[in-house]
Amino acid sequence: MENIQQFIESGILEQYVLGELTPAEQADVEAKAASHPEIREELQQMQAALGFYAEAHAITPPAGMRERVLGNVMAQIAAPTSALRADVDAVAQVNTYSTSPAQPTSATPEAVVRPLSSAPVAEPATRSIWAMAASVALILSLGANGLLYSRWKEASSDLVALQNEQSRFAATTQVVEKKLGELREENQVLRSDEFRAVALAGTKDAPTARARVLFNAATHKVYVDVKSLPALPAGKQYQLWALDNGKPVDAGMLAATTAAGEDIQLMKDIASAQAFAVTVEPTGGSASPTMPIQAMGAVSI
């Protein structure tokens, strides 16, 4: 038992899933996985995790690639000549069987030769009728196969399209649900009595700036709701500060959508504040506010 745990934690499984092991070492891991369910389970989880990571990085291939790649792949893997040859062989076999009853069955080599030399004129005719019938049957069958194959391909590409559609819907639904969850959360904040609304008014440097901070002194949660803030030059971002006993405390960066007033944003937790202020900072924020303050408001008590 301890041995297995040690084996799992030795790092060799990581090397296995990342393809770092030699074939012999791989075989050893696979043998251990086959006889120990714990190892198998661990391996499967790790492979699923990396598969998930890979899928999260999926890139839709460039336009036109599908036709090129699939076309080349199909050309390389398809074996139309051998399939045809099989059909031809089948026809040849039909001929052999059909003509054999006309031949006298004899074990001696002379017996085989004799019918050929003394064969009635009718035999080649029978042969060719059979061959023609078989050829017609082959042509009909190839035609029918072609038709069935193309219908089947259509059906299978329809199925693929539907499955793709379904997974797209699933992804979209997930996004919508996430958004809905966020809206619910916002709504709760807006309706809660525990949150105190702090109106931030524009200073002389940004007279049109208007925003609101929702501050919950009990849970320390801070939300910011922008009414209007001047557009920023590239490389700049708005930063919210809580002023506690005159000392500015970083309350987080305003996302672009927040600054544009599209949604309200949860900021960093603030234990205590008497006022909030917004400044313009380089993207990513500063440790202390760069003057001038753009908008500011005091927490009413």
Binding site: L50, I77, Y149
Partner: protein, 186 residues
């Protein structure tokens, strides 16, 4: 796991695909392409970092998957895992066969990190939501290590050397990163 929208192929559909590939049904390759090309191309592209080479590798991989299918054993793991490994191995062979490999290694690391930053999708795409979440769940050190191991084809010892940190640290971080990822899909 199967209800995670990121795992594109539910096990039942995968079993069907496996059955058709085992039956040497060529049209299954079209289905295979529809289902896996984006995931496989994403991985290949991140390793070889050039569109035309990525296309070559994907094509090579599909042919290889077809011909080597007899060696796929469903008991050993999912089809997706198997094909991902084939694509990663071919891509890593590709970058390793490049002449200037040794010289470009340090350069490669910088490039890959820049490429990652630039690779962030500019437009909102619902199918990328998973990537955003992962980025937030993995701390930068873990992400860097998993990317070097997974997308740059480094071995753990090479990562240790490249980042100048002990091999033990690389092992721990790799293990933790994979653990964090597997928690995300549960």
């Amino acid at each position: 796991m199967s209800d995670n929208p990121l795992i594109s192929l539910p096990p039942a559909a995968e079993a069907e695909l496996v059955r058709r590939l085992q039956a040497r049904d060529e049209s299954a390759m079209t289905l295979f392409y529809e289902r896996y090309s984006a995931a496989l191309y994403g991985v290949i592209f991140r390793i070889v970092k050039a569109e035309d080479e990525a296309e070559d590798v994907l094509q090579e991989a599909l042919v290889k998957i077809w011909h080597a299918f007899a060696s796929y054993d469903p008991a050993k793991g999912r089809l997706f895992t198997w094909v991902l490994n084939i694509c990663r191995n071919l891509s890593i062979d590709k970058i390793r066969s490049r002449q200037h490999r040794v010289g470009s290694r340090t350069q490669g690391l910088d490039d890959s990190l820049t490429a990652q930053r630039q690779a962030a999708p500019a437009t909102f795409r619902p199918e990328h939501i998973g990537l955003q979440e992962i980025t937030q769940k993995l701390i930068p050190e873990q992400r860097q290590i998993i990317d070097l191991l997974y997308f740059e084809g480094f071995t753990q010892s090479e990562v240790a050397e490249e980042l100048n940190i002990p091999l033990g640290t690389v092992k721990t971080r790799a293990r933790t990163a994979i653990k964090v990822l597997s928690k995300l899909i549960r």
